[in-house]
């Protein structure tokens, strides 16, 4: 049950991607996102897709697992697709001016659907899917503690003194650790209220508002209880923000990390160049 949400859990395969420094992976992720935002055509997207597939293959994690990571967000993607389609079709005439050759078009009432609109909607969804899959790759190959340590390492130079980076990294680590637990708890509460006759599938709209309350209050109280217990347990284990600590997992930047980062640095540069030249 609890693995419906599979993003956020490392899948050990011992691949070379797993072995990379989290800082290089996070940087790559940022660069990849930038490239996705900058790319506005199919050739760029094709290039990003090919690169993604190469990296995904290198993780030795089966493609099926990546598809499963996409599944919980399928409705959101469908929504984005339809939204783009309708928004584009509503003022399709604007898009007609685009450089794309007009291959096909059809008109239904006020909507004019053109191949260009369809193409841009598909492009939007593909970008989204790529982003999700790439994020999944990051979490599948990096444990949350390494991830948070990576973020901490990258933020440290920014907050030279003070404990900002440490705080942020602890927060991130705890969030990644406890969000699935909180979701599960919410699910149980939903069921418990359904057993008391508040099944959201069988309710009128007005009653649904009340159901929200019956869900929110216990979830909030539960989250606070958990937070309190967690704080006590952190304190009892001698944890203090800013106290000196050693690291069990050392971050080691190897040459592979430099190459990996450079490879991804080419992406937004390339995308930008293509955008300017087109």
């Amino acid at each position: 049950m609890r693995d419906k949400l599979i993003i956020g859990r490392m899948i050990p395969t011992g691949s070379r991607v797993h072995g990379l420094d989290p800082r290089s992976k996070i940087t790559a992720m940022l660069l990849f996102t930038a490239a996705l935002i900058l790319s506005n055509g199919w050739p760029q997207l094709a290039a990003l897709t090919i690169l993604s597939i190469l990296v995904l293959t290198a993780t030795k994690i089966p493609a099926k697992t990546y598809l499963r990571a996409l599944r919980p967000l399928r409705w959101l993607m469908l929504f984005v697709f339809l939204f783009q389609l309708i928004a584009g079709a509503g003022n399709g005439t604007v898009n007609l001016a685009a450089a794309d050759p007009l291959l096909w078009s059809g008109t239904w009432g006020p909507f004019t659907l053109t191949s260009a609109v369809l193409s841009s909607a598909l492009l939007a969804v593909s970008r989204m899917a790529l982003l999700i899959v790439f994020t999944a790759m990051l979490t599948f190959t990096t444990t949350p503690s390494m991830l948070s340590r990576g973020v901490e390492g990258m933020l440290k130079p920014l907050s030279r003194k003070g404990t900002g980076a440490e705080r942020f990294s602890l927060m991130m680590r705890l969030a990644l650790r406890f969000i699935p637990a909180l979701l599960e708890e919410a699910q149980t509460i939903l069921k418990a209220q359904a057993a008391r006759g508040a099944d959201y599938e069988e309710m009128k709209l007005k009653e649904k508002a009340r159901l929200l309350l019956s869900l929110l209050v216990p979830v909030t109280v539960g989250a606070f209880r958990r937070a309190e217990e967690l704080t006590t347990s952190l304190e009892a284990r001698g944890y203090r923000i800013g106290a000196p600590r050693t690291a069990y997992r050392q971050l080691i930047w190897r040459s592979a990390d430099t190459w990996f980062t450079l490879l991804f640095a080419l992406l937004p540069v390339g995308a930008l160049l293509m955008r300017l030249t087109v």
Partner: protein, 295 residues
């Protein structure tokens, strides 16, 4: 002989309140020697958990003195004291910070500023001791409640504390894990390196302890051996403890004038003896008190 060991914990005239209206603990005096196993008992809300949280300054009393390891507990030495007192709590989920067992144990060790090699040594040693080496790469979501609690114990012991506090650590566990955990605590007691506090509702845990501290309305109602404790019916009732079935049966039999020795017997005793002579570890821990398994 045991009398000669050092006093490790000393509470004097402790008074504690979360709010002004309600005093949780008042005039609590207690001294505990090295190597003792103390069971802190009493009805829910009587201040048991509060009491043990005073030991490592998770809470501070309004009045009175807490001395641990021969030193009065202050703001300054609290961090050091915490590293010498381990705690295991009720809900194993909410004390599991790492995303794998290994990371979780390491989390505490990092705070002790240990070298990587020493961390590795301790992780290996304590997971081996608690029989959870195979769980090292697991995510807490993949573990049962009992396994998680064992990991919590490993994380606590790996910091090599002198005092270990179990705060209702068995109460959310199923029967099997409860017994396993009790076996672990018994093993720790035998090893003799630890002074143990267990806050508990569990009769078996109380019976296994050296000494019972019974709290009622924020004061120590009784400080005695489990043997004495379980003879005092009124005390038991005040502490919310139901006499376990076996003791109730004994009582009934006594009332009917039936002594164990009146019948030719020896079924349970033989087992006890076998267990004492031959058994080791969990088996013995489970069986001795109960007079053996059923044939």
């Amino acid at each position: 002989m045991e009398r000669e060991t050092a006093v490790l914990v000393e509470l004097r005239d402790i008074e504690f309140a979360y709010t002004k209206e309600e005093t949780v603990l008042k005039s609590v005096n207690l001294s505990v020697r090295q190597g003792e196993w103390i069971a802190v008992v009493g009805e829910s809300g009587c201040g048991k958990s509060t009491l043990v949280r005073l030991l490592n300054a998770l809470l501070r009393p309004q009045n009175g003195i807490v001395s641990v390891f021969g030193e009065e507990l202050t703001e300054h030495n609290a961090p050091l004291v915490r590293s010498r007192i381990g705690m295991v709590f009720q809900n194993p989920d909410n004390q599991f910070i790492g995303e794998t067992v290994e990371e979780d144990i390491a989390f505490g060790l990092e705070g002790l500023c240990l070298e990587r090699a020493e961390m590795e040594r301790r992780i290996a040693a304590y997971t081996d001791k608690l029989n959870i080496s195979s769980l090292l790469p697991k995510h807490p979501g993949e573990l049962s409640g009992g396994q998680k609690q064992r990991c919590a114990v490993a994380a606590c012991l790996s910091m090599e504390p002198e005092i270990v506090v179990f705060d209702e650590a068995t109460s959310m566990q199923d029967e099997r894990s409860r017994r396993e955990l009790l076996g672990v605590i018994r093993g720790m007691k035998e090893q003799g390196d630890y002074t143990i506090f267990s806050v508990t509702h569990d009769v078996d845990e109380m019976l296994a302890a050296d000494r019972i501290i019974a709290l009622q309305n924020g004061t120590i109602r009784a400080d005695c051996t489990p043997e004495t404790f379980f003879k005092d019916i009124e005390l038991l009732r005040d502490c919310g403890i139901e006499l376990p079935f076996r003791l109730r049966l004994e009582q009934q039999l006594q009332a009917r004038g039936i002594e164990q020795s009146a019948i030719s017997k020896n079924i349970p005793h033989k087992r006890v003896k076998q267990a004492v002579e031959g058994g080791h570890g969990r088996d013995r821990l489970d069986e001795t008190k109960r007079g053996g398994p059923i044939e």
